[in-house]
């Protein structure tokens, strides 16, 4: 088995990757026809691809299921699809798949140009319906989304979250939910940038500790921390360091340590007795956004990764005791999302780093703890809009939401980067 990292840079929003002829315009959704997939297990493959394309929010998915529609799409066996028909019906692309020995052959047709735009045989190394097999299919979906829109999708990823005081992990489409921890309360899970490890905080007898778990082996070790409060770990983008909040008897400050080697603990905020928590790195690793109560109530600040040049990011509002916390720096580096108390409830807000313009993304129920998807377009949030705290995926462009979890009490979610796929 060879471990191949099929990683797309998370902040890739260029249009250079557009190889399909259709003109993709952000804000409009081209209609993509996903034909029934031929071969063993084809129905499952088609279902997963269709759903992923739909969840990408970049295309309008049409799935003809009847044999008639199939014939209409493909014409007679072995002949080219009926481009004229799909053009009339407004289709922009047709996705055709067939299960082959050890993989899936995908053909994407550009309807407007009446030609095949992309063909690739994707290996599927793992056993059908296994977690790795599903993850590999999600990778195919993400690649199809990139062919069509220029930006890779986020399906090939997982989400960490807290339920019943334990860390859980769930696939981005809501499948394969499982618990990763046991024992005392565990909180604030954070992904290693390439998904190899997770870090989280855990209640102990004498305070809260930072633990690191190797996702592949499940082995867990405790980060050497001083006694007291040790919470909200965050990996540096190079995967070498962890920044977390340490509190003892005079406030809580952010500190940085090596994730794997013994080394000094470097204090990087000077809170002077105030609370400084929930760090989030900029994608280039040079800056940190964090929550600080230094002005008397929690606000979002940014600073250099070494602690210099700390600056209030969210504007002070006169006459209002605002409460803003839990920043998440967007993968394109341009925005920071956070939760802000508005009319007594938390809502998700983004602030643009260039002009500091703010945009409120939610208004239904109470919404907390945003974490960006690798596509920089979606985020996972905690919302009580359905009556209990659940994870919801929010499309920042359109405001569309989908509920990811159904079991009550889910919170503190963290979306991974695009995860590596294991292929033979």
């Amino acid at each position: 088995m060879l471990l191949t990292a099929t990683l797309a840079p998370a902040q890739d929003t260029t249009r250079k990757g557009v190889r399909i002829g259709l003109t993709y315009q952000p804000g409009t959704k081209p209609v993509v026809v996903v034909l029934p997939v031929t071969g063993a297990g084809g129905d499952s493959v088609a279902a997963i691809l269709s759903r992923d394309l739909d969840f990408s929010d970049r295309v309008e998915v049409v799935t003809p299921t009847s044999a008639v529609a199939f014939d209409a799409a493909r014409g007679k066996a072995g002949r080219a699809p009926n481009y004229g028909l799909w053009k009339t019906l407004g289709g922009a692309a047709v996705v055709e798949g067939s299960v082959t020995a050890g993989g899936v052959l995908i053909v994407v047709h550009d309807v407007g140009q009446s030609r095949i735009a992309e063909t690739r045989n994707f290996p599927l190394g793992a056993a059908p319906m296994s977690g790795e097999w599903r993850m590999a299919l999600h990778g195919i979906s993400d690649e199809i989304v990139r062919w069509i829109s220029g930006t890779r999708g986020s399906a090939q990823s997982r989400i960490l979250y807290v339920r019943d005081k334990q860390i859980h992990v769930i696939d981005s489409d809501g499948a394969a939910d499982r618990v990763l921890t046991q024992g005392s309360t565990s909180l604030s899970p954070a992904w290693h940038p390439r998904g190899r490890y997770i870090a989280f905080s855990k209640f102990g007898d004498r305070g809260t500790e930072i633990h690191i778990t190797d996702v592949a082996t499940g082995s867990t070790r405790r980060l050497a921390t001083a006694a007291g409060l040790n919470i909200t770990p965050e990996w540096s983008p190079d995967g070498q360091s962890i920044v977390y909040a340490h509190g003892a008897e005079s406030g809580t400050d952010l500190v940085m340590v090596s994730a794997f080697d013994a080394g000094p603990v470097r204090k990087i905020t000077v809170g002077r007795g105030t609370d400084n928590t929930s760090p989030s790195f900029s994608p280039d690793g040079r800056r940190l956004a964090f929550t600080s109560g230094r002005s008397g109530h929690p606000e979002i600040y940014v600073m250099d990764a070494d602690g210099a040049n700390a600056d209030l990011l969210t504007p002070f509002q006169f006459g209002e005791a605002s409460y803003r916390s839990g920043p998440s720096w967007s993968p394109d580096g341009r925005r920071v999302a956070f939760q802000s108390r508005i009319d007594g409830r938390f809502q998700i807000v983004t602030i643009n780093l260039r002009d500091r313009g703010m945009q409120q993304l939610t208004s239904e129920g109470s919404n907390e703890d945003p974490s960006w998807a690798p596509d920089g377009r979606h985020m996972i949030i905690t919302s009580n809009r359905s009556g209990s705290k659940q994870l919801w995926v929010l499309d920042v462009e359109t405001g569309r939401t989908r509920q990811l979890t159904r079991m009550g009490g889910a919170r503190l979610a963290a979306w991974s980067s695009t995860l590596p796929t294991v292929v033979p």
Binding site: K165, T185, L187, S188, F203, R206, G207, T208, G228, L229, I231, T232, A245, G247, A248, E249, S250, G251, T252, G273, D275, N276, T277, S278, T291, G293, H297, P298, Y323, S325, G326, Q339, F346, E368, D369, R411, L412
Partner: protein, 206 residues
């Protein structure tokens, strides 16, 4: 409770003493008979002696019972005082929203703990800071830490040794009361005090 028990005890004692007195009154010497039957004299003497013995026994019995009751009462009173000391020492203190400031009420509750800590030098405390569930889950852990630290600082500034108090924060993870209104929130914004050592022999402050 205590007062009612004491009245009951007094009543029981009075009944016992009356019974003993009644026995003594029934002891006049038998009137002299013209024909003295030696057997009847002996029987009468024996009866008299028996009744004296019985009366003495009753007296001793009631005395012992009174003493036992008195000692039980005193140890109950002692236990109640120790329980009161323990409850004062472990009484939670409460905070305003998103604040670690000590209100007058909170200071008074902390002041009441100081003489107890002074009278029991082997006692060690763990102060656990808590928050209501309105803030951020993560930031509330830091708030709980500050609340615990504020109470510890207040006590150590008034002479309690630093090493006798450890602090911990549970944020909003362990509410004292479930609920989504101020009556629950106000109960949850608190410091709890747990005796971690020296709690088995608490001495009330003199």
């Amino acid at each position: 409770m205590l007062r009612r028990a004491r009245v009951g005890f007094a009543l029981a004692t009075a009944i016992l003493l009356t019974a003993a007195g009644a026995c003594r009154k029934k002891e006049p010497p038998p009137p002299p008979a013209p024909e003295i039957n030696q057997d009847s004299v002996v029987a009468a003497e024996r009866a008299r002696a028996d009744s004296v013995t019985r009366a003495d026994a009753a007296r001793r019995d009631s005395l012992a019972r009174a003493q036992a009751a008195a000692s039980a009462e005193s140890s109950a009173r002692e236990a109640a005082r120790v329980a009161e000391v323990r409850s004062t020492l472990t009484a939670p203190v409460y905070f305003d929203y998103d604040s670690d400031g000590l209100s007058d009420e909170t200071r008074a509750a902390l002041d009441a703990k100081i003489p107890i800590l002074n009278a029991n030098q082997s006692v060690r405390l763990r102060i656990a800071g808590h928050a209501d569930d309105r803030g951020s889950d993560e930031h509330n852990l830091a708030l709980g830490q500050r609340r615990a630290a504020a109470a510890k600082r207040y006590l150590t500034q008034r002479g309690v040794a630093e090493s006798r108090i450890e602090i911990i924060s549970y944020g909003e993870e362990r509410p004292a009361m479930e609920g989504t209104d101020e009556s629950a929130w106000s109960q949850n914004r608190r410091d709890e005090f747990e005796i971690t050592a020296g709690g088995d022999r608490l001495t009330p402050p003199s």
